[in-house]
């Protein structure tokens, strides 16, 4: 029987938008999420690598839409694809589902890079 990585949860979305700042502002107002990462044409909102919304500037004329789905998994090695370390503290690999939509599978294995660490109160 073919084995696949075990899905745990969808934990992030990458959305392309012609105006990331405006969309991020609306999301912040609705969700109360803070900015985790801000770069050129890219804003990441959320609590940390375990739950985030990344907004990227789309190419001219591209409509707003989901660009990448991030799925947290266990047993990533069962996917038999070469995984690479990422800033979120995971090993991950991605593949396109359609020309405009990709899927990233990620297994968290270590601490995230400093930019992904949001200070939180004790629960």
């Amino acid at each position: 029987m073919k084995k696949n990585p075990t899905a745990l949860a969808f934990h992030g979305l990458t959305i392309r938008s012609p105006d990331p700042e405006a969309l991020a502002g609306k999301c912040q107002a609705l969700l109360g999420w803070q900015v985790l990462v801000r770069g050129r044409g890219r804003i990441v909102l959320g609590d940390g690598p375990e739950l985030f919304l990344e907004i990227r500037r789309g190419r001219r004329g591209e409509p707003e839409g989901v660009q990448q789905i991030h799925l947290a998994v266990k047993h990533l090695e069962r996917g038999r694809r070469a995984a690479s370390r990422d800033d979120l503290g995971g090993d991950s690999w991605s593949r396109p589902l359609t020309p405009a939509l990709g899927l990233t599978l990620r297994q968290f294995r270590r601490a995230p890079s400093p930019q992904w660490r949001k200070k939180r109160k004790r629960v």
């Binding site: 745990l8 940390g48 968290f108 270590r110 629960v123």
Partner: protein, 223 residues
Amino acid sequence: MKRPRGTRFGAVLLDLDGCLVDSNDAHASAWSDALAKFGRDVPASGVRPHIGKGGKELLRDFVTPAEHALLADAMGAVQTELFMARFSREVRPFPGAAAAVRAMRRAGILVVLASSAQKDVIRRSLALLRLDGVLTGQTSAQDVEKTKPFDDIFSLAIDRFDLAPRRPVAIGDTPYDVAAAHQIGVPCMAMRSGGFPLRTLRSADHLFAGVAEAWEKGRHLFA
């Protein structure tokens, strides 16, 4: 599990941290540092009362359920890495504890290390204590789904090494050891060497300063 009352203990479910090695503070510091790497500001003193639980159970008090589901393994791995880095600097054997374990074995008592620690930590601790080959066996966090304060570690040890007919006793240093043992009707000797306040260990069946004293003053309790 029904056991005859009044008979002596012929097997020991032995905890590691806080019983054989003085490591609870180092574990707390490593957890504090590990949580900081994930953005959580928890002082070691805040973690300290939770030491003795397995890592996943401990984390439930400090992260949300969603964070726990996705990040607990990574947090545990970071904690183990940080603890191992501290090990040679901060972890010491308790005087007389390993000698007491050897004496138990010489007396024919089966001693199973029933720890919620990770395998790497157990391996290194046993090397420090020079207890390789002395123990009947061992269990670790990797062997069970739920760690202390659940009874899984003790239950597995009893089943795996067929200890039930020998009337096993748990030796631990935390209220989580006591709770885990009592869930399955196993008596528990609490060691104060782990630094837990006396009031948290009151439900234990016997109380000693440490493993060496348990063997010396509690010898009559063993077969």
